[in-house]
Amino acid sequence: MPPKLEISRREFVKDAGGLLIGFSLADSGIVPRVLAAAPAETITAPSPSRLDSWLHIDKEGLVHVFTGKAEIGMGVSTAYAQIVAEELDVPLNRVVMVMGDTSVTTNQGGVGGSTSIMLGAKPLRNASANARYMLMQMASQRLGVPADQLEVKDGVVRVKGDASKSVAYAELASAGDLNDTLKVSGDGFALNVQGPGKPKDPSEYSIVGKPVPREDLPPKILGRYKYVTDVRVPGMLHGRVIRPSGVGATFVNVDETAAKAVPGFVKTVVKENFVGVVAENEWAAIQAAKALRVTWTEPKQAFPEQQDLYAHMRSVPVKASRETLKRGDVDVALASAAKKVEASYEFPFQSHATMGPGCAVADVRPGGITTVWSGGQKPHELQKGYAQLLRVPVDTVRVVWVEDAGSYGRPGFEDTGADAVLLSAATGKPVRVQWMREDMTAWGTKGPAVICDLAAALDAQGEATAVRFTSRAFSGGETHFRPGDAGNYLGAQLTGIPNTSGVDEFAQWGAESAPYAFQNIHAMAHVVPAFYDSASPLRTTHLRDPEGPATSFATESFMDEIAAATGADPVEFRFKHLDDARAKAVLTAATQKAGWDTRPSPKKAATESDIAKGRGIGLSTRNGTYVGTVAEVEVNRKTGAVRVTRFVCAHDCGLIINPEALRTTIEANLIQSISRSLKEEVTFNRSNVTSVDWVTYPVARASDVPDRVDVILINHPELPSTGAGEPSSRAVAAAIANAVFDATGARVRQAPLTPARVKAALDALRSA
């Protein structure tokens, strides 16, 4: 590392003059550690090949850990601290996490794909093991004893059997830097480093695997935490954006008269179709944005009527296709089937609708260092993208990740940052932008609508011999998929920068998500074209477990439909077609805990009461993580209202780092998934998204919470850790739909399972 940067990093951890971006258990977990954010002279990302790019031990013995990852509320920062403390043999409260600041952390691809523990922890574990190795060499020299006769406890190296001979890490580290060179492999999520120091065997763990309390929670609950909404920069102004009157509408003119009368008004910013307003304080910015009279051209009628969405998706020529599974010959099996089962499932556009609308602060300094504070999960991508937006070199832009209001993928926080950059550049002042609720819910990014058609062949003995899966879906990534491309961002697209940031991402049933061993299986995925290629309020990108809940709603509902057609119990049917021991284990664990009543669905009710009760199963696999979920529901036959009364979720993600943080993450994911399964559906008309707030985009509330949630954690210390942030959301919709079928005999194939849809299915059943 160049000396200059080293100094700046040292200053970074010493200086208390700036903004909070990290936390320390050293402060009893109570006081957020304040870290400097003052712009350095030059911004050069640290090289991953340097050990001290990953961690630094200060003279008080605090271990400062630098990672390009971010804490989005699931306990990753605490888990990382556990991993580092474990390898170094230091107390957990001596570890300070510094996350997501592009000037001091390596690019680990940011947060995504539930990979923070699965992949992102690896270089931290290895760097820590190498730091320990290096410190042992130094201690060996210092104490004149071979390294193999030394041991470490609480950051102090001692001679085995002679406690009088010892030296602390702090003393060693201040005498010589941890500047070893490490071998680098991979990049992005897969970035890893290796050196002569080998990590511990899991059998030696004493900190990893313990239910350590999350370090971010006491400051949050005690009101001492700072979110990106709370970043304050000297001279900072407040901005708001004004979006077009509909998709494709272009700017005609603006009447500023009323806005200018708002005390504190500073400036209206117009750049092509990007319109914003800047004021001295937040209330003034909100009032000025409302007072601005913007005239737009008629919006395009780019969307179909909502009720025609799925018909549109079926009729439009597909943009791209991919075969994701092929075993045997499904066509032959279907042609010769004694009986066929066919069903189609539909899953709507869903919104991130984060708890708070996106917020960011940008301090654009032409000729100097631009700093952007953002809650976007991928700070190093944002750094490149914002640099391109400003047409400045990447190393003159620093992005500092600070937690925003909940993040489940790419919610649009990235777009808010671009808005802040545009407004700061236009005013020459630091600008804080927070979106209004409608900017987030209506104009934020969306998860794609997905249709899945399934067919199964049953032979004369009633055995399922073949399954065919065909999806038609909007791409999971119409935007935000080219790191460094300014065209990623809504605001940039409105300024006329083309959206070249999309990729064809398929709603696929692939080898890893289809664990069933059917003799013949075939899966095809088709992408349908975006409604509008630029600045669309229905533009899609990653929402938690992208496409997973939609495809699993189809495949796991369909497994139950085949089971019902063959008169089999849904769990026994799955067992019959599973080879994978871990998949079987989560099913066994969940059903045993739930007291699963083994019988075919639907339940034969003696009398038909208004409230029908049933149970359903869902199995999911995702990048090596296995989840079995039982949902128990009550269905009101009169209203169609569904209430989940109980969940049992068995979860196997290999080696568990922190069981308590894992349990709470799964619990919350299950509730969010109730929300997505029963309530969430983006509404729209021909030109606009009409889901604009919590009334028009309802989510789960207190009354929707089950009476009981049991989470069963299956730990496999002998296996590597796999993901845990997303997998438990996957099969919830199907488990609920299967429970509704079990309770009533009505099969609902369109999500969310609103009372109207369930009622319609019940009515159809009666009239059948």
């Binding site: 929670l217 609950i221 009101g223 209330w283 708890m355 993040s407 509330r701 207190a702 009354s703 919470v705």
Partner: protein
């Protein structure tokens, strides 16, 4: 602009602000009490909750003029002598919340509820919290924390 006298967390502030300005922005921008958070601006979510005369109130819906002269407590003001409020202690013990952006609503509504009704039934609890949003879905932990706070009040009674 006019001078409003606001009593927040036991301190009186005389502020020259627009009397029609919602309390939320004055707390955040003038008094730098940033815990009440902007969630929706239309009273649908509770992220901006403060206590006004010990009732949980949405500060995005209360003008400065209507807040003047009343006892306002924000999350910052819940601790006494550096000791967490029992409701806060219960939330910490239960490891509740993911992002935590919504928590002013839950913690302060819980405090107001338990002051009035120290041992709410499950149905009373759900009813009191129905108007709040937690987008991350941390409700299981939230309910556990409120039950814990209620139990600890029982023990210390």
């Amino acid at each position: 602009m006019s001078v409003a006298s606001l009593k927040v967390n036991g301190r009186v502030h005389n502020l020259d602000v627009d009397p029609k300005c919602p309390l939320l922005y004055v707390l955040r921008d003038n008094l730098e009490l940033t815990n009440p958070r902007f969630g929706c601006g239309v009273g649908q979510c509770g992220a901006c909750t403060v206590l006004v005369d010990n009732r949980a109130v949405r500060s995005c819906q209360l003008t400065v003029a209507n807040a003047a002269g009343r006892e306002i407590v924000t999350l910052e003001g819940l601790e006494t002598n550096g000791k967490p409020h029992p409701v806060q202690a219960a939330f910490i013990a239960e490891q509740t919340f993911q992002c935590g952006y919504c928590l002013n609503g839950w913690v302060l509504t819980a405090k107001a509820l338990l002051d009035k009704n120290p041992h709410p039934t499950d149905a009373e609890m759900r009813r009191s919290f129905e108007s709040l949003v937690c987008r991350c879905g941390s409700h299981v932990g939230i309910f556990a924390a409120i039950r814990r706070a209620s139990e600890s009040a029982k023990r210390s009674a």
